[in-house]
Symmetry: C4
Subunit: 367 residues, 4 copies
Amino acid sequence: MPARRRSPGVDPGFQTLAELEARAVARWSPALRGYVEGGAGEERTLSRNRTAFAEAVVYPRVLRGVASVDPRTTLLGRPVAVPFFVSPMAYHGAIHADGETAIAAAASEAGVLAAFGTLSTRSLEEIGRASGPGLRWFQLYHQADEAVERALLDRAAAAGFSAIAVTVDVPVLGVRDRQAQGGFAIDRSVPVGTARGVRPPARSPSDDHGVFRLPAEASATWEWLDRLRQLTRLPLVVKGILTPADARRCAEHGAQGIVVSNHGGRQLDGAPATLDVLPEIARAVGDRLEVYLDGGVRRGVDVLVALARGARAVGVGRPFLWALGVGGRSGVARYLTLLKLDLAAAMALTGCRTVAEITPDVSPLPR
Amino acid sequence: MPARRRSPGVDPGFQTLAELEARAVARWSPALRGYVEGGAGEERTLSRNRTAFAEAVVYPRVLRGVASVDPRTTLLGRPVAVPFFVSPMAYHGAIHADGETAIAAAASEAGVLAAFGTLSTRSLEEIGRASGPGLRWFQLYHQADEAVERALLDRAAAAGFSAIAVTVDVPVLGVRDRQAQGGFAIDRSVPVGTARGVRPPARSPSDDHGVFRLPAEASATWEWLDRLRQLTRLPLVVKGILTPADARRCAEHGAQGIVVSNHGGRQLDGAPATLDVLPEIARAVGDRLEVYLDGGVRRGVDVLVALARGARAVGVGRPFLWALGVGGRSGVARYLTLLKLDLAAAMALTGCRTVAEITPDVSPLPR
Amino acid sequence: MPARRRSPGVDPGFQTLAELEARAVARWSPALRGYVEGGAGEERTLSRNRTAFAEAVVYPRVLRGVASVDPRTTLLGRPVAVPFFVSPMAYHGAIHADGETAIAAAASEAGVLAAFGTLSTRSLEEIGRASGPGLRWFQLYHQADEAVERALLDRAAAAGFSAIAVTVDVPVLGVRDRQAQGGFAIDRSVPVGTARGVRPPARSPSDDHGVFRLPAEASATWEWLDRLRQLTRLPLVVKGILTPADARRCAEHGAQGIVVSNHGGRQLDGAPATLDVLPEIARAVGDRLEVYLDGGVRRGVDVLVALARGARAVGVGRPFLWALGVGGRSGVARYLTLLKLDLAAAMALTGCRTVAEITPDVSPLPR
Amino acid sequence: MPARRRSPGVDPGFQTLAELEARAVARWSPALRGYVEGGAGEERTLSRNRTAFAEAVVYPRVLRGVASVDPRTTLLGRPVAVPFFVSPMAYHGAIHADGETAIAAAASEAGVLAAFGTLSTRSLEEIGRASGPGLRWFQLYHQADEAVERALLDRAAAAGFSAIAVTVDVPVLGVRDRQAQGGFAIDRSVPVGTARGVRPPARSPSDDHGVFRLPAEASATWEWLDRLRQLTRLPLVVKGILTPADARRCAEHGAQGIVVSNHGGRQLDGAPATLDVLPEIARAVGDRLEVYLDGGVRRGVDVLVALARGARAVGVGRPFLWALGVGGRSGVARYLTLLKLDLAAAMALTGCRTVAEITPDVSPLPR
């Protein structure tokens, strides 16, 4: 047997996800670490997301002739290399000078969908240029001023974003103890670059004689979703759904997709693991819209499990920030390669030659 | 995004509950730490209380327009700002020179019900003055001498206490290993200030030729509850109920409320988590009396869970002693603010604009 | 409130069981520690015994007038102060110079049944004299030579032992890793004092061309039990039963009691927690014989749980060795006092004034 | 009682499995440690294998007269001393200069079946000579070149191997993080000695415009199994089965045995514990073929549990590498003795005088 081979052209900087995370956080300030790594409250939900995948059982199926494994799929009709994507996050500029453009370029090159947020440090146009032919979505936070929303949606369309991920689980920021303890602050050197006038979600309600008042951003209702449909031709994907009832309403209000998400455990501590609620939600909506999931996805086999249980694709978040921090665009590219290979191996080992073959019996629910 | 904001007027001394506890216990003697933090026996019940909340699942409901969140409710007909209250405890003077008056003043100012115990270090009258217009309850331990009880009840009514929390789970003190190991002792500088003649619960039975004898305080029966009703016009709330059968008897004997409580895990080690027995108890008594709960409540979402599962309000204990120790009245005020904001956020994230909207589907029982 | 009281006449050497254990093992050699504390194999069963009690739920019942609590009961018709007893063990002389006589004297004084083993370091006669009027049982290992058994049984009867606990779960010694690692050895200074000619259980089988041979001691069958009944008038209590089938056979073969026991986790690693199998066994034999249990009992509430689930009494083992090591007879007396008070408190807190009131609803099985 | 005896002729170097492992890995390089000890991914499956055995409950049955215990059985009609065998592994030469021959000799002497792999560092002929009269199996990885396979099978038959263990769970190597982190590499001083031209499984797929290509070795299908049956008269045992469906196909394709295996947790992280899927698989195939299991077997009682739940025999892996590393042939011999005695003790304690008496009631499934 030859000496250990390294994939050609891949910087041997990190071999495993654990190493990537360790190296990333080692160089971060406590504040940045608290911001990226932390979740809401006691991090019950943050922990549940991972535990649900760790407990999932996957069954190998053997002798199925897996000389080729094809992980390609489509998302809202657009081809992608793999059924995972970069979840929308915020403030990439706090992690690497290239900010969102590094992720945009690496994802585009890899044929992977990437989503970028309202609170990006680079403008939509910069991200669009970096992404080039790549598939990209724009994540929208409700804005009190509809003109701001309209401008964002128009610019997103013009900059080549092909869908709007509408975040609905942040009427107010979750109470994030680890972040509060670390004292994370965005200073002027890391501005929100998306647009002037954009307002981030409210940090906490204010007490008005015993009634807690939230900014207008928190007043969003299902009618707002209807209005958004009027404001853009881009398909809407509602992000932050955890119940079948809300999933059905998304379909009724014309969304073309939902992300089963608890915001990476950063919003309502106590919310269920996304994997745990996925099957019932997928059953509830059937093929009326596409169902995605994020929260706790780290390994190729996690992608497989989510697909077996009803997701069309899954979002991955924090690992891309680790990779961005460790190596900018090339770090992200390397992580993408690792995750692709991990998925390909998981498919081969379960006898799934294509995404369509990732059927429920590959990872049935516990009885 | 602007630099991290702090709520105006709030001392930035502690940002999170974990920090509060750490700072409080760091300055305490091992004896005081053992007394406050410890539970009975191997602390199985102490741990269960927290675990039950940690395992509860809460479901966000989105796009419900939560620009205002109103946590106000009534307890025995009296308005309060929030559905949580300060549980009755003892010996506040061992923790801060202001003792119970600091909590009374802060809770009153915040519109929060506070309960004070038979073993208070300040007199009922002092506490009443500090509370002013605030809602306050008096916690009563059975006294062998009915005259002592009568005097306490009369003074409580005169001092503006509006209900009597009758503790029934301490016929004898629980066997508290951590406290025994720490060697906690109340010396003469921290007297029971409530009243002369008050006797604390028996520390342990004495062996009388093989039969263990307890002081008369342990002889309380349901008839004692009937007698109490004759001794005061104040409503009785029975504290320390863990079974539907006992809850029903409370209703039959004229109590107007019960506290589902295991005395913070300090009495019978092995008793169930209060959250685990709440739903069956709430079903058993229906609307014949108000059902409260204490034990392990730490976060806003815990309040929400208890309400979703049948409680009208919940008591919080040890955190108020931490806050008292760290900052006296202003420490307590700060913790009250944190907990209120935590609750308001939890309500907003679950789409509950009022307490009435905290319905069972927000946190259904595990199947 | 007065300063912390200590029970009069009780050496304040240790306040809690945890402190007792820590102090005992701190002075022991690794070999002795491994022998006493260790279990078989990976100590799965040792751990299960404790976990089963730690997970048991106990329900307080309030306002039942518990001014007196009476833990007395009878075992095979003989009155005892409490429904717990000293389990038979071995080699007490390795722990304290007074060996078994210290336990015999302390248990007798406290009105507590004590059982002493075939592998005692003191003779049956010495133990009998130390026990005086105390209730005592003799534990018998099968002996290849019936004459040795006969002599032991006769001497036990003559020395005032009132029942024979017949150990049936040691055809061969369990594979005790921690003991093997510690290298425990009984040297000539700690002889088996019970009788000349007594043979301990075989340490391991010998390989005879692929078939493993055990000494004649391992050949015991149910017929041996019948023969034992002919050899003594003392009632037989079969120790080491873990299945309903074997329990029924004990009744059929004339035993008057059984001990549901896995030998303190020292024999078959993988055997169930005794508490877990108790209810089914108790149901299987009904009142045809008395059912006892040992394994993992440490607290008063553990005694209560076992009685609620079908045991008439429970044996306690290792804690008596800790107490013997720390303080000889007075150490044992002190531990007996602590455990009695712990039981009395548990009874008071569950509203059980007598042992008869420890009914199944006090600690129902999990559903 | 005499001083602690050691079995005659057994080197007292290690007394327990834990000591053996600790001593072995202490002398290994991080790379070798990562290779041997590690599993795939986050080692969920590696951990499950052990947990499943740790949670199995085993019931003693008493007074059954176990003066002799006979663990002998047959595998594919050939007599063996015990129902456990040495699982096929790889690269023994990296651990001890004697490589596979040390295990072959020790297993043969002990009457224990040993399996040797395609990636052995010694040739089939050398292993055969070292094994002598001992029962041995040859493990085959699919080779792209059928001529290579044919040559291996012919040489295996000629060298006295009596069955072929066909590995089917390695179309591609699992993603082994711990191994990757350690940097394990086989250099030229540790060649694969089995045969020239042998190719190890592919380390990872290569990306071919989005489709991942695996070497021809990964293309194996059930038809390949049929072809193998034509290439050799030796019985085929398919290794790496985890579902009833695949087990049934093995029977349909003429295999005479299967090994329920997840490759020691080294292939698909997320695969179930082998013990958990064993009963359903055993029921599915009935007596159409022999069912073996490996993965997590460490103790005699583990062997017993697997047999009670449907296995005819079980494979043991890593412990043999520890023993090989610590003491070469004599280390392996010593471990074999320990495991045999452990099994004999477990049989005696459950009243099983023969393998046939290891019935399901000895270790029933949890309800």
